[in-house]
């Protein structure tokens, strides 16, 4: 394994170990997602037909805000404890630091989704536990983490970082949200899994675009 991947693995392992001990991100985000689901039930009082129509939107809005919660924590603890400077001092390619945060965020959110998807499926009586939806959720989560991690690093030094992060990242994530909602709706409507369909192409394209742009920009972001 090259030094780059050893460094990447060390950074991801560090984030997993810290999460295991602090239990801040996964537990907090999971409770948030389940609370939102309960509130949807009370606030919308959905009929079965309406629920089927609204489920993709409700699911993705919830996952989007849950992702923002997780991303807000991605660099905040590093910055507040001064360890971000320790990473900046180390002879690691800046993309390693970025990718480690993306991987950790995707893993944390996937754990949340592992519980949230069955809960949404049961509460809204929606066919969400299919391979197509799972792949769509993974792609949406990856795109969210890819763009969000870059902006979380940009916002971390700001006094109002909790407000700034959604303001920066939500406009950028609008196309991702639209593609994910439509792909999920098509799958729920019983569409076969046409991997070349426009919504999946858009999802994959956005993931590649966010990851590529962030890897290029992250160096400049961390250097000052």
């Amino acid at each position: 394994m090259s030094l780059y991947f050893r460094q990447l693995a060390a950074l991801v392992l560090k984030d997993l170990r810290l999460e295991l001990r602090r239990r801040e991100t996964v537990a907090g985000v999971l409770v948030f997602v389940l609370l939102v689901l309960v509130l949807f039930q009370f606030a919308l009082d959905l009929e079965r037909a309406e629920a089927a129509r609204l489920t993709p939107g409700l699911l993705w809005i919830t996952l989007l805000f849950a992702g923002l919660l997780a991303l807000g924590r991605a660099f905040a603890a590093e910055y507040d404890q001064g360890t971000l400077d320790g990473l900046r001092l180390a002879p690691v390619d800046r993309s390693t630091i970025y990718l480690s945060k993306v991987i950790a965020t995707v893993l944390f959110l996937s754990l949340v989704e592992l519980v949230a998807l069955p809960a949404f499926a049961a509460a809204l009586d929606a066919p969400l536990l299919t391979p197509g939806v799972l792949v769509t959720v993974f792609l949406g989560t990856l795109g969210l983490a890819a763009a969000g991690t870059l902006f979380a690093a940009a916002a971390v030094q700001a006094r109002a970082r909790d407000v700034l992060l959604p303001l920066l990242v939500l406009p950028l994530l609008a196309p991702l949200l639209i593609a994910a909602v439509h792909a999920t709706a098509d799958l729920m409507a019983g569409a076969a899994v046409p991997w070349s369909a426009p919504w999946w192409e858009l999802l994959v394209g956005l993931c590649v675009l966010f990851l590529g742009a962030a890897v290029l920009l992250f160096d400049a972001l961390l250097e000052e």
Binding site: L3, Y4, R6, Q7, A10, L11, K14, R17, L18, R21, R22, Q81, G82, T83, D85, G86, L87, R88, L89, A90, P91, V92, D93, E223, E224
Partner: protein
């Protein structure tokens, strides 16, 4: 990590084999406030240099520039003969830094913290090296304790072990005594005095600077205002020099703001503050 081949060659105007640090006219603005206003500094291989000066003199900013944590607003900086402003990644492996922040994860154990940084620096035979480092800073029984459960002084010892784990060629220390007990200070002194590496140490304690360094550099208002070798220098003489040059700096013109219209900063040599103060007594 790709770097142009030219980055690995000496671009410094002086002999890179002998000069570990060569800074010319370093300027650093934070917003409109000047933290450094034209700093020149050289450090030879194996030399120990202490930076002293009043609060706000620019010691920490200069150390952050040397550590490649921030970029200068103007000026040139070569580390090991490499242009560290253009190619910071090339020099980072050879730097060890102990600062106010320990750079340690409070929820990881001592050994986990050191192993993490060891992997990032590509340290070979890591398990043995970590065990040796922990023992060396006197925390052999504490390797599996979380850093957050240690006292400030113990954390500072771990920070010292982290900074030296990868055998750096230049050690940058910013007030490294913080929280250290007598034994910890002795350990630090042994590192600075006995390790065959270059050291730049920022401190408020003149006695400490005198005891540990070969040369004391006095900073005031973002400039180097005096340099003196410590060989044969008494504590009283250093105090007298310090008082004189920092008082002279206080009386100099205040140029703490960025010049309007992007005008060039006046050269340090243009002002009385910038002139190294010549003192007849106390120096050898």
């Amino acid at each position: 990590m790709w770097q142009p081949a030219s980055a690995l060659h000496s671009e410094s105007p002086s002999d890179s084999q002998r000069r570990v640090v060569e800074a010319q006219g370093l300027v650093k603005f934070y917003g409109a406030t000047a933290a450094l206003r034209g700093c020149d500094l050289t450090v030879a291989a194996g030399e120990r240099v202490a930076l002293v000066g009043p609060n706000g003199a620019g010691k920490t900013t200069l150390l952050k520039l040397l550590a490649t944590l921030v970029r200068p607003s103007a000026g040139r900086l070569w580390l090991f003969g490499v242009d560290a402003v253009r190619y910071p990644a090339v020099v980072r492996r050879r730097l060890g830094v102990v600062a106010h922040d320990t750079y340690l994860y409070r929820d990881l154990t001592v050994a986990e913290n050191l192993a993490l940084y060891g992997r990032l620096y590509g340290v070979a035979d890591l398990r043995r090296r970590v065990a040796e480092s922990v023992a060396w800073v006197g925390l052999a029984g504490q390797a599996d304790r979380r850093v957050g459960a240690l006292s400030r002084g113990q954390q500072q010892r771990v920070a010292l072990a982290r900074a030296l784990l990868h055998a750096p060629a230049l050690l940058l220390l910013d007030e490294p005594d913080a929280g250290l007990d007598e034994a910890g200070q002795a350990l630090l002194a042994a590192v600075v005095r006995e390790a065959a590496i270059s050291v730049v140490l920022a401190t408020h304690a003149l006695e400490r600077a005198l005891a540990l360094a070969d040369r004391v550099v006095v900073l005031a208002a973002g400039r180097v205002v005096h340099e003196v070798a410590t060989a044969g220098l008494t504590s009283e003489a250093l105090r007298a020099i310090y008082r004189t040059v920092t008082n002279a700096a206080k009386q100099g013109p205040d140029e703490g703001s960025r010049p309007a219209g992007g005008a060039a900063l006046p050269s340090p040599a243009d002002t009385p503050v910038g002139q190294p103060v010549s003192l007849g007594s106390g120096e050898k």
